[in-house]
């Protein structure tokens, strides 16, 4: 280990905390037709992108959620002004018991 490893220090990077998607109990699904930027045809809203604590929602119309890292916290569901995002049981996606 070199000198810089004498202390705990990390650099920003995708997946720095590992594959956090497997912590998930429920997963979010966006219904594009209900998403504001899709409906308005403008670069608007993006509230879910701004609020995602794990930075795993892209800006876009509709935004795309990276389920490899999404922990399933559901904050995007709470903040979406048009209720375009809903949580589904993880078992529905994987076929495994939850």
């Amino acid at each position: 280990m070199n000198e810089s490893h004498q202390i705990a220090m990390s650099v920003p990077g995708i997946g720095e905390a590992g594959r956090t998607g497997d912590w998930r109990h429920e997963y979010p699904v966006i219904t594009a037709e209900a998403c504001l930027p899709v409906k308005s045809g403008r670069d608007s809203c993006q509230i879910c992108w701004a609020h995602c604590p794990d930075n795993c929602i892209t800006r876009g119309a509709p935004p795309i959620i990276d389920l490899y890292y999404c922990k399933g916290c559901g904050i995007c569901v709470e903040v979406c002004p048009t209720h375009a995002i809903v949580m589904h049981p993880e078992a529905d996606r994987t076929g495994e018991g939850s």
Partner: protein
């Protein structure tokens, strides 16, 4: 070099000025307050080009030092007793983050009950936090040791506590040789090479969640686990056993005074009975030794200058030839004994049957006076116990008076 008359607190503040500290943050508490009062005056007058940050607590004082040290500044704070206890969380953070912070402790008894006078329970209680701890015997040593502390801290990337007895040294005036600014600058160049990377163009998370096992980060680089970082920190403290005497020697070459590095001694060469302590009590022990020698007791002093890391090899070597070590603690690990006594026993244990007996004493708690006569009498009791075949015993509480009103008997 100018000889001037300084209190211990003034000596500590003067060292910080000579070190050209860049950030000072502290909260007043007796008996430490005059240290930062002096520094705030010098910052205010422009005599010291530092930022003085007023804070609302000791916890914040050390937090300011942690953040300033993280971005590369040379920082200083000072506290005592309950102030140190209040900053305890950050005491551990400063060490674990490997920041070369220097903090003076004007040693004071812990409450409850409330007491502003001297013992060493405050700093002894954080001996395991990963700081280097140095104890001073007089005001000259406070100035010189505080200046040395930054050199030690910045070489090893560990924080250093410079401990001196409250009131007995903090408020007592003594002649002190103050090095010139040129000497101080030659001994202590500006801080370089921090471990931390603070660069907006190369962002880092410093001190992030660190799991039990080493693992690859997102870039594929293997990062140490928590236990590896603790081991590296331990190794840095062990390295201090070499660095502290080296820095003392460098100081001697530049300024003309040395203090013995890890330990020092008085009439110990041919001693059969060693008197062991840290701090100002050791000065009185030298007087006790003179009195004991007049009575034919071959006594000598082993002064513990560096308490953490504990100088195991030096203690074993210096005490190995004696038949009895009497340890004078001004602190207590409740239900066991004084902390220095435990460490001395552990250091001598590998000598087996050839090891001297180690008898502990407790004195001076909450500012209780202890004279050289009291100390010599305690040594005579210890020698009598040993001659009577005692090999281990409870600590001898010097000048304890349970017959006083409210006592248990």
């Amino acid at each position: 070099m100018t000889v001037t008359v300084l209190t211990g607190n003034d000596a500590a503040a003067t060292a910080a000025k000579l070190a050209r500290v860049q950030v000072v943050a502290a909260y007043p508490i007796t008996p430490q307050s005059p240290v930062v009062e002096a520094l705030s005056e010098w910052v205010s007058s422009g005599e010291l080009a530092a930022e003085f940050v007023n804070v609302e607590s000791e916890h914040s004082a050390l937090t300011v030092c942690i953040t300033a040290s993280t971005v590369g500044a040379r920082v200083f704070t000072a506290t005592s007793a309950n102030g140190l206890a209040y900053m305890t969380e950050q005491v551990w953070w400063a060490a674990g983050a490997r920041l070369p912070i220097v903090m003076c402790i004007a040693n004071r008894a812990m409450a409850a009950p409330w007491n502003v006078l001297n013992d060493q329970q405050d700093s002894m209680s954080v001996r395991d936090a990963g700081w280097v701890q140095l104890y001073c015997r007089d005001n000259q040593e406070i100035l010189d040791t505080t200046l040395q502390a930054w050199r030690i801290a910045e070489r090893l990337n560990v924080p250093v506590m410079v401990c001196y007895d409250g009131f007995l040294l903090s408020h007592t005036m003594m002649p002190v040789d103050v090095p010139t600014a040129e000497q101080a600058d030659a001994f202590l160049p500006p801080r370089t090479d921090p471990l931390q990377v603070v660069d907006p163009a190369d962002p880092r998370n410093i001190g992030p969640v660190t799991l039990a096992d080493p693992r690859k980060d997102a870039g594929g680089v293997v990062r140490p686990g928590y236990m590896e970082l603790r081991h590296l920190h331990h190794r840095a403290l062990l390295e201090a056993l070499d660095v502290i005497p080296e820095v003392d020697a460098e100081y001697g070459a530049t300024v003309g005074r040395t203090w013995g590095g890890l330990t020092w001694e008085y009439r110990l060469e041919d001693a059969e009975v060693a008197l062991v302590a840290a701090g100002s009590l050791t000065t009185q022990l030298t007087l006790a030794v003179d009195a004991l020698r007049e009575d034919g007791v071959k006594a000598g002093v082993l002064g513990i200058r560096c308490y953490r890391p504990f100088p195991v090899a030096a203690v074993r070597e210096r005490l190995g030839g004696t038949r009895l070590a009497v340890v004078f603690d001004k602190a207590l690990s409740y239900g066991v004994e004084g902390p220095i006594a435990s460490d001395v026993k552990a250091a001598l244990q590998p000598l087996g049957a050839g090891a001297p007996a180690v008898f502990g004493t407790i004195s001076g708690l909450g500012g209780r006076d202890v004279s050289p006569d009291d100390l010599a009498a305690a040594v005579r009791r210890a020698v009598a116990d040993l001659d009577a075949g005692v090999t281990d015993r409870e600590p001898d509480w010097i000048n304890l008076n349970l017959e006083a009103e409210g006592g248990t008997r």
